[in-house]
Symmetry: C2
Subunit: 357 residues, 2 copies
């Protein structure tokens, strides 16, 4: 079969080697006569997978023992609520940076549950950009400061993380595991799996012990981080975690975070260079904020954009349509997107410009 | 490969035909060059799967249009919190029946969030049983009345559902889709998938429109049933829902709920008849409450029980150990458990008794 060049923003491309491995074992896991999906989550087979996934995550990101690594569900959208519910106390303020659609959703939830200060707002700007460090107004003694490290719709990314003075909380759904960073600067990191970690259906949360200790009383058991930090409380999304374990192992084989960053930077540079080469294509984000994961650009007209998406799909380049809220073209080039896909896309961009420029 | 006889309480056995179908398409979904896990949840391929899973659920259970059918995450454990959070108002009381471990967890959550009346309590009794209708003390004007239709640990099941006078809310995690019942008697039904519906990682909720209208203000967006009843709000657990669609289609091929009930009753009768045939085995539940899904029994000593579990596993009969909180033997014989597995188990019980009786 021909493997598609898949630029989906998420759920997104997975390493084909991982899919093939999962396929092989799907009906009969390691000669057990059962699928991994049919086994108790307390049994030795699944426990080994779960523990290994956590160990790999710790290894890849250099996570110290004073952080819990949790595999939850509900996505980043769920975490938008869990965070203020657990960590924004009565009479406290949480700082949020408004940088696009995802940050806005996090802010909306925090406002339902507590008091919010908008430390910076670049969300209405075009071209899209992340705030500069000196534009942020942090609250003294805030419960925490929230950032969205990468906005998939605007195609922008924090290049350096701000120092807010309070525990930093980050939605890293769309760029975790793509570049090195210092976990110890964060109180809590969360990410839906379906970009760089694995399939949809599992949410990774890293939470620091001393931040966890500050959580509110009276939170429902299942929504209390401590429940999950203490033990495997309820049935996890077994198959999704099983896939995560494989993706993380694949990533180790690519040289870990340092190795994948080099590949990611090269892929992104190829695309941005092609965009910048002529005036036909126009980057949607301010150069300093350009995302290495989601490359967003425009063509001279919406009509041409429609033609571009259609002709690209016919040429095997799938899911390039920008988000409906902003239009344009979006190429999501997460860790598992092969360099060959980006090469095919830049070639296609050349051809399309020649015909329509 | 030899397929194991799998009696796991959950995650549990899936139909082998479903696993084989999923295996075939895992890397390349219908010639698309992608796995279903790599596709946008808003795209036409996944949308068709999601809609079909809902349609099949409606068809199988005869669910009318005034119920929403939701595929959420967080399991039944999550719903223990969602229900009082959404539906137990300030100053209201909710009735709960205490019938075992699962009901107790539901009660614990409701007490964190609101006021609870225990309408009946059979949870400490041995042998285990469900309450009789005339033992239940329902509250006039209760927000709702909660039951756990099947307790997997005690191996007991409500045979007829009580009429509490307030909207009935049911945890049907371990017996939904196993027998016909009238959905219209319920305000809300919820079930973790990993027994009769599919793999772990998706939670089914059926909620009636007029009950939904009564929900509390100020609930976080992701935890508000209305968010999900209105539209597909966030990324669903794509692969788990994909598997659910296949399991439901498989169930239609088995004659739907009426067809599977006959098979389930026959399987359960074979096992209970074997238990009752001699004094060597002893049913753990009162006969009138015996679960058709989880058949729990004891042997003359814990030592013999340990030997039984070990020898059964060596003979290919897996996961027969009772829950650690109660001990004994538990054979979970959900929809996907083939009759041949139950026949193999009863034969093994004969042999084991001959050797050790």
């Amino acid at each position: 079969m021909a493997r598609a060049y898949n630029f989906s923003a998420g759920p997104a491309i997975l390493p084909v080697e991982v899919l093939e491995e999962a396929q092989k074992d799907l009906v009969d896991y390691q000669g057990s006569g059962m699928s991994i999906m049919e086994m108790s989550h307390r049994g030795k087979e699944y426990s080994a997978v779960h523990d290994e996934a956590i160990a790999n995550m710790r290894e890849l990101l250099g996570i110290s023992d004073d952080y819990a690594v949790l595999f939850l569900t509900g996505g980043a959208s769920g975490q938008f609520a869990w965070i203020p519910m657990n960590l924004l106390g009565e009479g406290q303020v949480a700082d949020y940076t408004a940088t696009g659609s995802w940050a806005s959703k996090a802010i909306k939830e925090a406002k339902i549950l507590g008091k919010v200060n908008i430390a910076a707002d670049s969300s209405k700007e075009s071209p899209a950009r992340m705030p500069l460090a000196d534009e942020c107004t942090w609250t003294d003694g805030a419960a925490y400061a929230h950032i969205t490290t990468n906005e998939t719709i605007g195609g922008i990314q924090w290049k350096a993380f701000p120092d807010a003075g309070s525990p930093l909380v980050a939605d890293m759904s769309s760029d975790i595991l793509s570049r090195p960073f210092d976990v110890s600067k964060f109180g809590l990191i969360y990410a839906g799996a379906q970009k760089n970690i694995g399939p949809a259906g599992v949410t990774v949360v890293l939470i620091k012990d001393d931040f966890l200790q500050k959580r509110n009383e009276g939170v429902a058991t299942m929504l209390d981080y401590k429940t999950h930090a203490d033990k495997l409380y309820n049935t996890p999304p077994v198959f999704a975690v099983y896939m995560v374990e494989k993706v993380l192992r694949w990533l180790e084989g690519r040289g870990g975070i340092d190795g994948i960053q080099k590949i990611n930077e090269r892929k992104a540079k190829m695309l941005y260079d092609r965009i910048d080469k002529t005036d036909f294509y126009r980057g949607a984000a301010v150069p300093d904020s350009r995302s290495v994961m989601n490359v967003c650009f425009r063509l001279p007209s919406e009509e041409l954009e429609g033609q571009f998406v259609k002709a690209a799909a016919a040429a095997g380049l799938q899911a390039l349509k920008g988000h409906r809220s902003v239009g344009g073209i979006r190429a999501s080039i997460y860790n598992a997107c092969p360099t060959a896909a980006v090469e095919a896309l830049t070639s296609f961009m050349d051809e399309f410009e020649q015909k329509n420029g």
